[in-house]
Symmetry: C2
Subunit: 607 residues, 2 copies
């Protein structure tokens, strides 16, 4: 069931809203001219009215049982924010120029995650467009946009959105977003959107006035859970599925990143993610273009990405946070919170060989067993990163990896990411070691809520033994501090790092043993004490070996290679990359001992 104000052309519009337990619902037209449109309810609780003389840009909301006035839960636009009337949008007025666009084949994806508000000083969709050639040059091919569903105020990561169909007004609204997606496609970049189906934000959250969007059966870290399996769940499921189709259809997105699916509770006989995957697949076939779903998941559960005939949800890919945590702990030596579960080369070796470190192993931080085996799935069904908005921004001071470790270790982490068999995700600015932090910021209007956020974050950080006061999330300075210093990417070490990333991406796309990732096709060995991992990977027509030295000291490593002549392709310790100067030979023709500088990555390819 299509929801919201569906503009039909010729000043005709159909309004549909789901409110199964209400006795009377009407559309109140607010502007250009006030009037009330009574609605009719069907058996499943959908209220409808089809009306002439509705111009695009009409402002409206719903009058519930003659009393409350509420914006449309499926509003396409909230020009004045979360508490004010919704606006009718005529999507046909935008003329798309991306007819020739074809999606990038999924295994080739290299994702660049960005936050609209802080990627540019302007903080708008349109301002991003000028930077696309730079991202193209870097070599990434998919942009992942952090959530744009209307949130309170002008500053938010996006996870406090309360109108899942409405494009944030302060970012430039529907037209701005369309221009950005269109520009990406014209320049050969895919674009995916981060969507949040596990909760709604705390301010401007009026959906419960309409119907049972939430259930008391489950308690999530963010309060009551979205109702995906309880009485009336059909309406909530429809709301979510139509939302996904809406973004993919009206905004031409190439896929969606599903936020925190571990907080989507559904014990019914058809999991909402399976139903969503089915619906997107049907839509993809109708549209004749491939569309993909990626789940952010803390479950380490292969079920998410297994095809439905194997009892899975049939989602194309999910995160492997284990990859991040392995790399992070090895280059920072941090061991607090969930990092206590990591820190061993053996774990990273296991991740590189089969996807997860925790495959029903006991997790000390969770105090329970965690994860299962995903090594039979193609490795490109896992998305990995060494930084993202959460891993950076949920630190009290928003430190990026470049603030926490040495330049050599940064390059090593980048090589571990980009030579991996998984789909890599870069967090904006990571590619040049951005100096700005990425902090947590909000712009709520409710003082109690602001206070609650402040206290909540402080308590959270105290649990992690962080000292001092967290930056004020509600301050505009906190937001501004998080904006990228884009020009710095061409300067000094930033430039070297950027070029190192570009070269890694180029090699990743050139060498078949790195490109072909239907299976792992790898042999991995490690020395825990020496902190060295050796990865041998092959395809039908190529072979590579790369060494990752996570040791802060020089290490001699006896490299065993298959016969043949092996050429060095990249070596992070070379002075070209501002390394200490390499002692590694340009070519190898037999097994031999290599002297590796601290935090070195080196790649050899069989000639």
């Amino acid at each position: 069931m299509k929801l919201g104000a569906n503009y039909l052309g010729n000043n005709e519009c159909e309004f549909t809203v789901w409110a199964p337990l209400l006795k009377e619902v009407a559309v109140e037209i607010v502007a250009p001219e006030k009037r009330l449109l009574p609605m009719e309810k069907d058996d499943l609780g959908y209220w409808k009215v089809r009306e002439k003389n509705i111009t695009p840009d009409t402002l409206y909301w719903y009058q519930l049982e003659g009393e409350k006035k509420r914006p449309d839960p499926a509003s396409h636009f909230q020009p004045k924010g979360v508490h004010d009337p919704s606006q009718v949008i005529d999507h046909s007025t935008y003329t798309w120029q991306d007819q020739d666009w074809k999606n990038i084949p999924f295994p080739d994806w290299i994702i660049y995650e960005l936050h609209v508000g802080t990627f540019t000083p302007e903080g708008t969709f349109e301002a991003i467009i000028a930077r696309l050639p730079d991202l193209k040059e870097l070599g990434v091919n998919v942009i992942e946009i952090m959530p744009v569903a209307q949130f309170p105020g002008a500053r938010n990561w996006g996870y406090d959105g309360v109108y899942p169909y409405a494009v944030q007004n302060s970012y430039g609204g529907p037209n701005g977003l369309k221009k950005l997606v269109d520009a990406c496609h014209q320049q050969g970049l895919a674009v995916i959107l981060d969507v949040v189906y596990n909760h709604l934000g705390p301010e401007g959250n009026y959906v419960s006035d309409f119907g049972p969007y939430f259930t008391l059966t489950y308690n999530t870290p963010w309060g009551t859970a979205v109702n995906f399996d309880d009485a009336h769940s059909y309406g909530v499921r429809n709301f979510v599925i139509e939302n996904a189709i809406y973004w993919l259809g009206e905004y031409h997105f190439d896929g969606l990143r599903l936020d925190a699916i571990h907080a989507i509770y559904d014990l019914g006989a058809k999991h909402i993610l399976a139903e969503l995957a089915e619906a997107v697949e049907v839509f993809s076939q109708q549209q004749e273009r491939p569309l993909y779903l990626i789940a952010e998941s803390d479950l380490n559960d292969v079920k998410v990405i297994n095809p439905q005939e194997l009892g899975g949800h049939g989602i194309q890919a999910q995160w492997s946070d284990d990859f991040h945590h392995c790399v992070h702990t090895l280059v920072t030596q941090e061991s607090i919170g969930y990092y206590q579960d990591f820190g061993q080369c053996q774990q990273l070796a296991k991740v590189l060989q089969e996807g997860f470190a925790y495959t029903w192993n006991y997790s000390p931080s969770r105090r329970r067993y965690h994860g299962n085996y995903a090594g039979d799935r193609p490795p490109y069904q896992l998305v990995v990163c060494i930084q993202n908005h959460d891993q950076v921004g949920n630190r009290m001071l928003g430190e990026r990896l470049s603030h926490l470790t040495s330049f050599d270790a940064l390059k090593l982490a980048a090589a571990t990411l980009l030579l991996s068999p998984f789909i890599p995700l870069l967090f904006m600015g990571e590619e040049y070691g951005e100096d700005a932090p990425f902090l947590y910021f909000i712009d709520h209007s409710d003082p109690n809520l602001i206070k609650a956020v402040r206290e909540g974050r402080k308590a959270e950080f105290e649990e992690f033994h962080a000292e001092g006061e967290p930056p004020d999330a509600d301050s505009i300075e906190t937001f501004k501090k998080s904006t990228l210093n884009w020009q710095s990417r061409k300067e000094g070490k930033h430039k070297v790092l950027w070029e190192f990333y570009r070269e890694l991406i180029r090699l990743r796309q050139e060498i078949p043993a790195l490109t072909q990732r239907e299976q792992y096709n790898s042999k991995i060995s490690f020395l825990e004490d020496e902190k060295i991992i050796s990865v041998y990977r092959w395809s039908a027509d190529s072979e590579v070996i790369y060494l990752l030295n996570f040791n802060g000291k020089e290490v001699d490593y006896s490299l065993v290679i298959p016969s043949g002549n092996w050429q060095k392709r990249i070596d992070s310790s070379e002075s070209q990359w501002q390394g200490s100067g390499s002692k590694l030979p340009q070519s190898l023709s037999q097994s031999q001992s290599l002297n590796l500088s601290p935090y070195t990555a080196v790649l050899y390819q069989k000639a």
Copy 2:
């Protein structure tokens, strides 16, 4: 990890209890001679002490942090009930006589559910033994015993048990139960136990003093959920898995009926039921005898019985409540509560063809979509009934089907059950149309709890528009009223019904088309208005057709048969079964119109 007081012989005993958050735990020996045994804790929170001079039958409890005294959560026996000390049990003193026993092949199971307290006037395990020859004669081959885990007082269905390892004292304790299982095996009957892993009862429930057995993440109809996926869940999972192994091992059970698995919440990467199924399979191989798990499930989810390589839990069978509800509504015309979802022949035809009526259809009573397709699983992976303790006992007046419908309809329901491709379950007394109700009864000692139960049940029945006062659950009269009038089975209509059941079971076991149930191998047609269902089933070497007339009037039905000579095998309308006298031919050699009496079942087999 083995739990409880593990008697090692020679007056030596090892005590193990899981209490991961406590700082001090000791065993307090209460009798024969008081003393305190300090325990030591391992990394996972298991406290242990191994002690000499512990005679079997020693009474003990745990002293928690020098203060609280609590019975053992894994107590093997609570001689004085739920609030008093636990007793050490030496399981080796019982001499088993069932060495020659082999389990019944699973597809052949015909289950007889009984409640120990009301099956005989004595209400004990041993009193059941005298009745086993009668059950053998009837033809059932598996006895399902309602829960025997120690509950408060002497009267309870068993679902308020609080010591999952302890055999109810008032039923005869460990030795009584062993004698019963042993006797069953010697007489060729399998025995399964109903075990409750989704909650513990409200009185005598001290496990939370030991550790986080419950989680706040989920809210079940019975309160907080058992902790299967939260921090420390490993200890609770071990408690449950060891419990299953304990019953199968120490008490020689042939399988377990898992109560209400829809209230087992586990969103981790390995579902507790999958882990349980794996553990039971391993134990089964060690024991060299097949062991089976059956899930009571309200989910209609094939995942429960799918093998693990198809993403399932790997449980051998689950309930299809849809079968019950279809038959019940067709023979009673009831339409209140969940019965509003049923009442159509089309639904029963669908169940007979593929297992569930609700396969992601909209359920009016649930106000959501429900179930999925299970038709690719062998039909013997579903257990069905026309009566059970819940469907009878959760009615305000505990009416059995024999109180609600005609004798003809009773026979029709029995034929629908016993000619079905599923595993049938009979509820004690059903086979002869027992006159006694099966009421809800308790024997709590806490007056507030008794009051809460009274008020809760009253409110529940008011929701179902039942009039009048429910019988007093706490009264011994309510319990006594529910005891079977066993001698009546040999009298009048009771005897006819009993013989009809016996004949149906005999036919079910004789005719290959009814026996072989790896696939459905059936064609089913129905006439909704006439309320007739025709079922054609075949095996490699036999064919049957049976007609089920749910119409309260005579109906002419044009039966289409494959060529051949078809012999009538059973006809419920014959005067032999106290029917109205049959108008159905003894043999058929061509398609023809048949005149079916009201509520008739007739079976033809191809000669």
